[in-house]
C-alpha cells in the first residue's frame, strides 16, 4: 500500500548553493526596496510639510511692517555675525581659484584670463553656493537648535498661550532676514574672493594688477550677478526654512535637538545643490 504522507520539505542543507544565495539576495533586495520606499514616502511627506510651513509664514508677511525691529535683530544675528566667517572663507576661495586656474591654464591659456576665471567661478558658482553651504552650518543649525530647545522647554507653547504667534514672532523675521542677508553676504563674498585672487596672482603668480583687472572685466556680464543674487535669496530662504522646520520637529532632549541641527544642515546642503542646478538650468 502506497503511503499518502506528503513528501518532506527539502532541508536547507540539501538545497543547491545558488538557490540559497538567490534567496538571500532576493530577501535583501526586497528589504532594500522597502526601506527605500519608506524613506521616499517620508521625504515626500516632509516636503509637503515644509511647503505648508513656508506658505503659513508667507501669509504672515504683512506683520513684518508691524514689528520691523524683530527682523532687524535677526538681520544682525544672521548677517553681521556671519560676516567674519564669510570673509575668511571667501578670501581663500578666491586665492585657491587663482592658483588652480593658473595651474590649469599653464602653457596654453594666457594669464590675461586668470581674472576671468576667478570672476566667473566666484560670481556664478562659488560665491552663492559655498557661502550658502557654510551658512547652512552656521545659521541653519543655530536656528534648528534654538527652536528645538524652545519647543523642548515649552517656550513655543507659552508663546501660543500668550497669543503670541511663533510663526509671526520667530519664523517670519528669520525668513526675511535670511532672504535679505544672504545676497549681501554673497556680494561681500564675491568681492573678497576677487581680492583674494588678485593678491595671489600679483604677489605669487607674477601677474600684474592691470592684467588681472583686464581678465575680470573681460566677459563680465551683469546678468551673472543678477542670477547670483537670485540664488542667494533662494538659498537664504532654504537655510532658514530648513532650520525652523527641523527645530519644530525636533525630538526630546539634547539628542533630539542635536539631530534636528544635523538634519537641518544635511537637508539644507542637499536642497541648495539641487536648487542651484535648477536655477542654472533655467537661467542659462
Amino acid at each position: 500500500m502506497e503511503s499518502s504522507r506528503p513528501p518532506d520539505p527539502v532541508p536547507a542543507s540539501a538545497q543547491p548553493i545558488w538557490a540559497l544565495i538567490l534567496d538571500s539576495v532576493g530577501s535583501l533586495f526586497l528589504r532594500f526596496i522597502r526601506i527605500l520606499w519608506d524613506s521616499l514616502s517620508d521625504q515626500i511627506a516632509r516636503i509637503g510639510e515644509v511647503i505648508l510651513l513656508f506658505l503659513r509664514i508667507v501669509k504672515r508677511a504683512p506683520w513684518f511692517f508691524v514689528n520691523p525691529s524683530l527682523t532687524l535683530e535677526q538681520l544682525i544675528r544672521i548677517g553681521v555675525s556671519s560676516l567674519p566667517l564669510v570673509m575668511v572663507i571667501s578670501f581663500f576661495i578666491g586665492a585657491v581659484s587663482a592658483v588652480q586656474a593658473e595651474y590649469q591654464f599653464r602653457g596654453f591659456v594666457p594669464s590675461n584670463y586668470l581674472g576671468t576665471a576667478v570672476c566667473k567661478l566666484v560670481v556664478i558658482e562659488s560665491g552663492p553656493v559655498l557661502t550658502a553651504l557654510v551658512l547652512a552650518g552656521r545659521v541653519g543649525s543655530a536656528i534648528a537648535a534654538q527652536i528645538g530647545t524652545m519647543k523642548e522647554k515649552e517656550e513655543l507653547d507659552a508663546m501660543t498661550v500668550l497669543d503670541l504667534d511663533p510663526l509671526r514672532y520667530l519664523a517670519l523675521p528669520r525668513l526675511i532676514s535670511g532672504i535679505l542677508a544672504f545676497p549681501l553676504l554673497v556680494i561681500i563674498s564675491d568681492f573678497l574672493s576677487i581680492v583674494g585672487g588678485w593678491i595671489i596672482t600679483t604677489l605669487v603668480l607674477n601677474v600684474t594688477t592691470a592684467t588681472y583687472v583686464f581678465g575680470l572685466r573681460f566677459l563680465f556680464q551683469p546678468y551673472d550677478v543678477v542670477i547670483s543674487m537670485v540664488k542667494a535669496m533662494v538659498f537664504g530662504g532654504i537655510v532658514v526654512l530648513m532650520g525652523y522646520y527641523h527645530g519644530l520637529s525636533a525630538g526630546a532632549g539634547a539628542k533630539g535637538v542635536g539631530q534636528a541641527s544635523m538634519r537641518s544642515v544635511v537637508s539644507s546642503c542637499m536642497l541648495i545643490l539641487i536648487v542651484d542646478f535648477l536655477i542654472v538650468y533655467i537661467a542659462y
Binding site: 524652545m150 515649552e154 501660543t160
Partner: protein, 255 residues
C-alpha cells in the same frame, strides 16, 4: 450649558500613536473655583490642561469654555478665549533670551498697544509685587534664577494680562516643601486678587488639600472621582485612597 460651569470637558478622547491617554474624560469646572486634577505621572493630566487652552485638539469629545466650543476643527474661538487665560508651565517656560522684565512685558506690549514704556515698567513692578518679588528682579536673566523663582515669574507672566482662568501645570513639582508652600499661597492669593478660576494639575497631595475647592482624580484616561478635599480624604474609593496614601498596591497597608 449650566451657567455655573465655566469649563466643560465632554467625553474627551486623545491618543498619541498607539497610546490612548484620554479615554473618556468628563469634568465640569465651576466659575471662580480651584479645581485640582490629581493622578499618576504620565497619566494625561497635562494633556487635559493643554486641551483646555487649545494647545491640543481632541480626537473625540468637546472642550467648552464659557459656552463656546474651542475644540472644533475650525476653532475660531480659541484665540478669543485664550486671551482670557493664563498658564504656568511645569518648567515655567520663561523666554531664555529675554530678561525677567521683558518676559512679563512682551505679551502686554503686543496686546495692549495703548501702554507707554513707562506704563509697562509700572505693570512689571506691580506684577512682581503681586508675587512678592523685588522690582529689581526685572533686570535678571532666567538663567540666573532658582527653580522656585522661575515658577513665580512664570506665574507673574501669566497674570500680567489679568486672565480670568489660570492653568497650573505641576506648580510645585521639583521644589522644596517651603518653596512649594510659597507657591501654594500665591495660587490662593491670585484667586483672591484676580477672582480667577484655577485648574491645577499636580500629584502633590499637600498642595492639593491646601489650594483645592474640589479635587478630581484621573485614572486610565477617565475621571474616576470628584469631590472636596474633605470628601477626598473620606472617600472609600480604593484607587483614590491608594493614590492619596501613596500605596504601591491597591488596598495595601502603609508602612
Amino acid at each position: 450649558m449650566n451657567g455655573d460651569h465655566l469649563i466643560e470637558l465632554k467625553h474627551l478622547q486623545k491618543s498619541f500613536g498607539p497610546q490612548r491617554v484620554l479615554r473618556d474624560v468628563n469634568l465640569e469646572i465651576r466659575r471662580g473655583e480651584t479645581m485640582v486634577i490629581i493622578g499618576t505621572s504620565g497619566g494625561g493630566k497635562s494633556v487635559i490642561l493643554k486641551h483646555c487652552i487649545g494647545l491640543l485638539q481632541p480626537d473625540g469629545g468637546e472642550v467648552v469654555v464659557d459656552g463656546k466650543v474651542i475644540s472644533s476643527k475650525d476653532h475660531i474661538d480659541v484665540k478669543t478665549i485664550r486671551k482670557r487665560m493664563g498658564m504656568l508651565f511645569q518648567g515655567a517656560a520663561l523666554f531664555d533670551s529675554m530678561n525677567v522684565g521683558e518676559n512679563i512685558k512682551f505679551a502686554v506690549r503686543e496686546h495692549e498697544k495703548q501702554h507707554s514704556e513707562a506704563d509697562l515698567d509700572r505693570i512689571v513692578a506691580e506684577t512682581l509685587h503681586m508675587i512678592n518679588l523685588n522690582p529689581d528682579f526685572r533686570f535678571k536673566m532666567p538663567s540666573e534664577l532658582s527653580g522656585g523663582m522661575k515658577k513665580r515669574l512664570g506665574l507673574a507672566r501669566a497674570i500680567a494680562l489679568k486672565p480670568q482662568i489660570l492653568l497650573y501645570d505641576e506648580p510645585t513639582t521639583g521644589l522644596d516643601p517651603i518653596t512649594s508652600d510659597v507657591i501654594n499661597d500665591l495660587i490662593i492669593d491670585m484667586q483672591a486678587k484676580l477672582g480667577a478660576t484655577n485648574i491645577v494639575v499636580t500629584h502633590d497631595m499637600v498642595s492639593a488639600y491646601k489650594i483645592a475647592d474640589r479635587i478630581a482624580m484621573l485614572l486610565d484616561g477617565r475621571i474616576i472621582f470628584v469631590g472636596t478635599p474633605e470628601e477626598t480624604r473620606a472617600t472609600s474609593n480604593p484607587y483614590v485612597q491608594q493614590f492619596i496614601l501613596g500605596q504601591r498596591k491597591l488596598g495595601a497597608e502603609t508602612d
